[in-house]
Symmetry: C2
C-alpha cells in the first residue's frame, strides 16, 4: 500500500483533486453541467454520479437566474445547511434556511400525525421566492414538494432532489422528475446531505462565471 | 421505472431500511461490527463499505468504554458535528465539538503558515480525555493526529478516520492504521462528514446495548 504523501500546497488541493477526477471520468461530460457533476464526485469520491445525475432542460440557467435574484435555499437537514458555503451565499445576496429543527414544525407534525420533513416543506412554501429546495435526506420532503407543485401551491425555481436511502427514495425522485419542475436529481438510492450541499455550492461557484 | 410508493409508517422506515440492507449484503458481517457497517451503508446507500471499513482490534469495546466515561467527540467539520445525534450524545453524558470555525484556529493557521484543520487538531489535543476524533473531510487533520500520537503528545480513545478525497486521503488513512491507535477507517478514497457522523451515531446507539 502506497503511504507516500504527495506534496501539494493546501490552496492547490482542490485544483489537483479536480484534475484527478477529470482524468478518471468514465466518459466526457456536458461542459455546462460538468462543474456540478465533478463537484459531487469531489464530495463523494463516487464516479457513479457521472451517470446518475439527472438535469432537467435548461436547469443550469434557471438555477443561476434564481441565485441572481437572491434565492432562498431551503434544506431538509441542518447537515446540508451547514455544508453550504456561507461566504459564497452572502456574496450572491442569497440565504439558506432549514425548518427541520423548528419547534412549530415538530408541533404541527405531532398535531397532524405527519412528519417533520413534510411540515417543514409546508412552512418553507410560505416564504417569498425564488425558492430552491435542497433535499438530501427525506423522500417525504420530496413527495410533499411534488404534491404542492401538482396542487399549484408551490412553484420552486429549482429542486435538488438527492435523498439517500432504501424506502421510497428511488420512487420519490422519479415522481419529482415527472412533474417537470426544474430539478437536479441523483437517480437511484444514492445521495445525501453532502451531495445536496455540494450541488448548492457548485451552483454558487458558477454564478457570474458562466464559462466555468 | 417503478414509481409506486411503499406504505411504511415513518417510525418504521429505518427498520425497513436495515432489513433491505441486511438482505443485500455482499457477505455476512462480524456481528459485533455489523451495526456500525450497516449504519454507514444506510447513510450512503453504498455497499462498498461492507469491504472497506477497517476496525482495529477490540475497537468496539474501546469506543464504548470511552463513551461510558463521557468522551468528547472532536469533528473536523461543522457538517459532521451537525450530523451527530445530540439527544443520544446527551443521554450518554458525552459532547461533540469542532474547532474548525474558531477564529483563534484561523489566526494560528495564518501565523504558522499551516491549515485550519491542523491547528484545530492541536487545539482539541488540549482537551481533557477521553477524546474521540471523527475526521470526515481533512486528511491533514488525520496526518496531524498521527504526528501528535507518534510524538507522545496525544492518546485518543478512538480515531474515526474517514476523510473523502483524491489527494493524500488513501495514504493518510493507512498511516493512521499503522500507528496502532484504536481506529475505524474507511480504506480508499471514500468517506465523508456523513460517514463520520454515522459511525459516531452507530456507537452511541450501541452504548449500553452490547448485544445489538
Amino acid at each position: 500500500m502506497n503511504t507516500e504523501i504527495e506534496y501539494v500546497l493546501p490552496m492547490d488541493i482542490e485544483k489537483r483533486s479536480f484534475e484527478i477526477i477529470e482524468s478518471e471520468l468514465p466518459h466526457p461530460l456536458d461542459p455546462e453541467l460538468a462543474p456540478i457533476i465533478k463537484r459531487v464526485i469531489h464530495t463523494t469520491a463516487d464516479f457513479e454520479y457521472a451517470d446518475t445525475l439527472y438535469f432537467s432542460p435548461q436547469v443550469r440557467e434557471k438555477a443561476l437566474a434564481a441565485l441572481q435574484k437572491g434565492a432562498t435555499i431551503v434544506t431538509d437537514t441542518t447537515m446540508a445547511l451547514s455544508g453550504i458555503n456561507k461566504p459564497a451565499l452572502e456574496r450572491h445576496g442569497c440565504r439558506a434556511v432549514s425548518f427541520i429543527g423548528d419547534p412549530a414544525v415538530a408541533e404541527a407534525a405531532k398535531k397532524n400525525g405527519t412528519t417533520r420533513s413534510r411540515e417543514a416543506v409546508d412552512r418553507a412554501a410560505e416564504l417569498p421566492g425564488p425558492l430552491i429546495f435542497a433535499v438530501g435526506n427525506a423522500p417525504t420532503a420530496l413527495l410533499r414538494i411534488r404534491e404542492l407543485i401538482l396542487e399549484g401551491r408551490l412553484d420552486p425555481a429549482l429542486v435538488i432532489g438527492v435523498p439517500v436511502g432504501f424506502v421510497n427514495v428511488v420512487q420519490a425522485k422519479e415522481l419529482l422528475i415527472e412533474t417537470g419542475v426544474p430539478c437536479i436529481v441523483a437517480r437511484g438510492r444514492k445521495g445525501g446531505s453532502n451531495v445536496a450541499a455540494a450541488i448548492c455550492n457548485a451552483l454558487l461557484y458558477l454564478q457570474g462565471r458562466p464559462g466555468v
